[in-house]
Symmetry: C2
Subunit: 330 residues, 2 copies
DNA sequence: ATGAAAGCGCTAACAC
DNA sequence: GTGTTAGCGCTTTCAT
C-alpha cells in the first residue's frame, strides 16, 4: 500500500563494503582510525549507494545534537526581531544546513549574558552555536563541552574561531571616498558601544581623520533607524557646517537621511551620507546610498560550514572583504 | 567530541511518577492511551523536573525527523536568495522552532516541481514542511507519508492546511484609498502568473475597477524590483495619463518609483504608487510607501506552531488580516 | 490501561 | 586496525 522507500543505512554500506558497521563508521568520519584501503572502499560504496547518515541517530549516539543555534546578543528581543541582518544570516545558514540534513534555530540573549552558552550546552539537540554580536564576557563563558562547536561572528578568542567582515578596510575606503570627493567636515554616528567588533569602524574613522588633520565629530548611536534619526539631529545641532555623515550601518544612514530631509538639508548637495552593509534597500531608495559591502550571506554560510563540514579547515580567524559601493548619496 | 551533561530523561520522569517508561511516554503524547490519573501525575512530574524530550531520540524511535524544511518554489535559486520575504519567514520560523528544540532548513525548488515533496518525504530528518509559493501540481504531489506534516503558505487543499494573508481585503483597501484620494486611472503591475494565491490581488483589482466603472490597465510582472522597473515603463508608455500604479508588492513598487523618477514623473504629485507587504524599507525611503500590511512573521510562526504544536488546533484554512498603511506615496 | 522488551541508526567502549 | 557489543532516549509492538 504505502510505498516506503527504505533509506540506505550504514549497515547497508558496511555489508556492501564487506566490513563491520563500526569500521564503516570510522571510515566515514574524517579522522577516524581506519586503514586507507578500507576507508577508500567504504567511501566509494557509500557514495555509490547514496548514503546519507541519519542526523538523529548520529546525534543520539554521539550526543551531538541535530541543530545549529544562531544566538544573537542584543539589547532587547525586539531589536532582534526588527533586524534585517538576522533574516539574511538565517537565510544563508539554513540553506547550507539543509545540505547536511540539519536545521537552524534562533535565540536572542541579552548583551553580556554569560548564561547563554552554558544553557545551550546543557540543552540536548544543540549541535553547534553561531554567536552573533559577541562580547568578551560571553566569549569567556564557553563551557568545556561546547568547545569546538561554537563559532563567533565578530570578535573571537578563548578557543572560539571567528569570522567577520573587514570593517576597518571598508570604512576606510568610504571615508577616503568622502574626502576624495571634496568633503571636509565628516561626522560619524557610532555603532553600539557594547559591541566589541564594531569598534574597528570607529578606529578607522579616528585614523583617517587624524591622517587628514581633521577634528573628530562623533555622536553615540546604535544599529537602528532611530539612532540615525537622533544621531543626525545631534550632529547638525552641534556642528551645523558638517558636510558629510558616516553612519554605522545602512539602517542608521536611512534614519539620518530622514532627519536631514526634515531639516531641509539636501543629500548629497549639502551633506553627503554614507552607510555600511550595502543592504538591498540601499540601492533602491533616493538618493541611492553610498556604502561598503558586507557579505553577510558569505559569512554565515562559512560559519555553518565550519560547524558542519570538515573540521580541519577552520581557521581561528577569518576576515571577509568589504568594498566601497559608491552611489549618489555621497 | 565531549559527552553531554546528563539531562532529565523520560526514565527519570517515569521513575518519579512510579510508572513505566512506556506509560510515561503515552501520558505525554497528546492522545496516547493512558488513564487520566496516571496522565496527570506524569505530566505534573515532568513539568516539575523540567523534562524536555530529546528531539533526536524521538525522531529516531518514531521516524519523525528533527527539522522543519521551508521549501520555497521559485523560478530560480537566485530569486529565492534575493528575496527578503524568505529571511523574514525564516526569522519567525526559527524562533518558534527553537522553543521546540527543532531547527529549520531552507530549500529551493523549481515552480511546479512535483518531485520536491516525495524527495523530502524519503529524506530522513524531515519532521515537517512549510511550503512557500505553493502551486496546484505541487500540492497534489504530497506523498502519503508526509500527509499531516505539510502546511502551505498560500493555496491549500488536498489535505494540506493553509495559512495566508487576506490579499483580497488588503488590496481592495489600497485601491479604495487610491480612488478616495482622487486618483482615476489606476494601473496594476501583476504578480507572477504562475502563483495561484497571488491571483486574489488581481481579482481585487478587477473587482474594484469594475465597481468604479474604470477600464483595467494591467501589465505582467513578478515580485522583484525589475518587474517594477519594467512594469512602470510599460504602463507609462501604453497609458501616459495614468495617475496611480498599484504594484504586486513593495519591492515592485520601489522599482516602479525608480522608473518614474528617471522619467521625471513626480510621486505622488503626478502618479501615486502603492505596494503590498509593508516591508521595513517602505517606511524609510522617500516618499514613504503606501501599502498594505502583510504579517509574514505571524504567518510563519503560526505555520511552525501548527507543525510542532498540538495537532488539534490546525484549521484547514486560515487567513490573516491585511490593512491599509497610508503614507506619502499615494 | 499498563509493563516488558524490541528496536530506530549510529558511535564509542572494549577486546582482539 | 578491526569486529563485537553496548548503549544514546524515545516510541511501539506485544503481552498481560
Amino acid at each position: 500500500m504505502e510505498r516506503r522507500r527504505a533509506a540506505v543505512t550504514l549497515e547497508d554500506v558496511a555489508r556492501a563494503a564487506g566490513v563491520s558497521r563500526a569500521t564503516a563508521s570510522r571510515a566515514l568520519v574524517e579522522d577516524g582510525p581506519a586503514s586507507t584501503p578500507a576507508r577508500a572502499r567504504v567511501r566509494a560504496v557509500a557514495a555509490g549507494l547514496g548514503f546519507r547518515p541519519d542526523p538523529a541517530a548520529r546525534a543520539l549516539a554521539g550526543g551531538a545534537g541535530t541543530r545549529i543555534v544562531l544566538a544573537v546578543l542584543a539589547e532587547s528581543a525586539a531589536a532582534v526581531q526588527h533586524c534585517e541582518y538576522v533574516g539574511r544570516a538565517l537565510h544563508a545558514a539554513a540553506e547550507v544546513a539543509d545540505r547536511y540534513g540539519v536545521g537552524v534555530s534562533l535565540r536572542w540573549a541579552p548583551v553580556h549574558d554569560r548564561g547563554l552558552l552554558p544553557a545551550l550546552a546543557a540543552e540536548r539537540g544543540v549541535h553547534g552555536v553561531v554567536l552573533v554580536n559577541t562580547t568578551w564576557p560571553v566569549l569567556e563563558s564557553v563551557p568545556a563541552d561546547l568547545r569546538g562547536r561554537v563559532i563567533s561572528i565578530g570578535v573571537g578568542g578563548a578557543g572560539v574561531p571567528s569570522i567577520d567582515v573587514d570593517t576597518l578596510t571598508g570604512t576606510t575606503a568610504v571615508l577616503r571616498h568622502l574626502f576624495a570627493s571634496g568633503r571636509q567636515r565628516v561626522a560619524m554616528i557610532q555603532p553600539p558601544a557594547w559591541l566589541p567588533c564594531a569598534r574597528r569602524s570607529s578606529l578607522a574613522y579616528r585614523h583617517v581623520l587624524a591622517g587628514e588633520g581633521r577634528p573628530e565629530r562623533m555622536v553615540a548611536g546604535g544599529f537602528d533607524v532611530d539612532s540615525g534619526r537622533r544621531g543626525a539631529a545631534e550632529v547638525m545641532a552641534r556642528w551645523p557646517d558638517t558636510d558629510a555623515i558616516l553612519a554605522a550601518c545602512d539602517e542608521v544612514a536611512f534614519g539620518a537621511m530622514a532627519t536631514l530631509r526634515s531639516l531641509g538639508v539636501d543629500v548629497p548637495g549639502d551633506v553627503a551620507v554614507a552607510g555600511f552593509d550595502d543592504v538591498p534597500a540601499a540601492a533602491l531608495g533616493w538618493p541611492p546610498l553610498t556604502t561598503a559591502s558586507h557579505p553577510v550571506e558569505l559569512i554565515h554560510a562559512a560559519a555553518v560550514e565550519a560547524l558542519l563540514g570538515p573540521s580541519a579547515a577552520v581557521p581561528a580567524r577569518r576576515l571577509l572583504p568589504s568594498e566601497l559601493v559608491a552611489r549618489e548619496s555621497a
